[in-house]
């Protein structure tokens, strides 16, 4: 599984839907993931990739991590994973 598949699996698990129902354009709101669910997903992603995501639950929009939609999240994770291995 590449980064995208792993991230989508985590998000789908959180939303209790099939990974095939998650697209790059899906927003977390579309998927029914609330703020607590988002924090839990961030935790699961950090555990999966052993990375630190710069995410502040107080002000998600001010974080250096784009959560606009699934595509943006996957891109952000790819970048963090690449930085970590470089």
């Amino acid at each position: 599984m590449d980064v995208r598949d792993k991230v989508i699996k985590i998000i789908a698990d959180q939303a209790m839907i099939e990974p095939s129902d998650v697209t790059d354009d899906s927003t977390l709101e579309d998927l029914g993931i609330d703020s607590l669910g988002l924090v839990e997903s961030i935790f699961a992603i950090e555990e999966e990739f052993d990375i630190q995501i710069p995410f502040n639950a107080n002000e998600p929009s001010e974080s250096d991590f784009d959560i606009t939609n699934v595509g943006a999240i996957v891109a952000g994770i790819r970048k963090l994973v690449a930085e970590q291995t470089s």
């Binding site: 209790m16 607590l36 924090v39 839990e40 961030i42 935790f43 950090e46 555990e47």
Partner: protein, 402 residues
Amino acid sequence: MKRVVITGAGTINALGHTVDETLDAMREGRCGIGALEFRDVERLAITIGGQVKGFEADSQFNRQQMALYDRFTQFTLIAAREAITQSGLEFIGDLAARAGVVLGTAGGGVSTWDDNYRSVYEDGKNRVHPFVVPKLMNNAAASHVSMEYNLKGPSFTVSTACASSNHAMAQAFQMVRSGMSPAMVTGGSESMLCFGGVKAWEGLRVMSKDACRPFSANRNGMVQGEGAGVFVFEEYEHAKARGAEILAEVIGYAMSSDASDIVMPSKQGAARAISGAMRDARINPEEVGYINAHGTGTAANDKTECAAVADAFGPHADNLMMSSTKSMHGHLIGGTGAVELLACIMAVRDGVIAPTIGYEEPDPECALDIVPNEAREAKVDVALSNAFAFGGLNAVLALRKV
């Protein structure tokens, strides 16, 4: 002042996963104490306890719930479901706005603390699950009950060590009696049977390695238990109007503080709580037929408690029955008064007195009728439930047959 009755009861503890199973076990004098089963138990000196067995939380709660529910919350929700279902109450409209939930716990999410300390200290991890705080907080169980059943009135958690449940139920009783609320969900829960939880108790050196034998001359300490007891306290006219089944009436309570020692109990403090509960209930000592003792099985508690009962009752102390069901389910710490209230309900409603099992040798300092080893049939009008906590905080409740 309103009359207050109990219209629902629920429990899960080492004796059973329901009230019926628990009362059957108490009638049969069955022991729920056995070998503890959890990680690192081999590093403990104390390896017995009243552990809830055969409980698969995963089959009761979904993944999202499991992420948020510590074991003490799981126990609470199981017991609350049984109690509220039995009561037949549906919390909507004005009833929902005025009904609340007051629960006792001493430690809250002890195994959540334990697991996550292990993870960061022992395993060296630097990240914990985001729900650690909402899972371990002492009010988590009360909050989840309020959310599950739409209870929007006064709701909070009381923490007074081994008297937590009795203090909580005293609060709920007062709210219904004063007319503040027509119905309250109340009781308590505890789950300390994990490595850190038992290790901490070991440190006090008051734990028995083989059995809890309250009032027996050869007693050698307390045994921890776990579980929850939850009740619906309802205003009498409210219950009667809807034809609810009434299990018993709560007629009074008292609370006192020893103001003396952080662990040693005081005869005076305990006696003041017992006498105060009878005064509050406007009963004479002679009306009390049964006391569910605090009866921890420690040298200090049992003789102090017997002396306090002798003081509070005078000559009638020799006529009443007093048993400690901790001999069967262990000491549920903050949840203990709630599970023990079931024995009081059984006494006044069914005329069955739960025994003190494991009793082997009379102790001249505990020379009361402690209903040794076998349950007894007896007509009882009024029963008291004692709880005397570390820190010297005491709470006694009085129940009457309806």
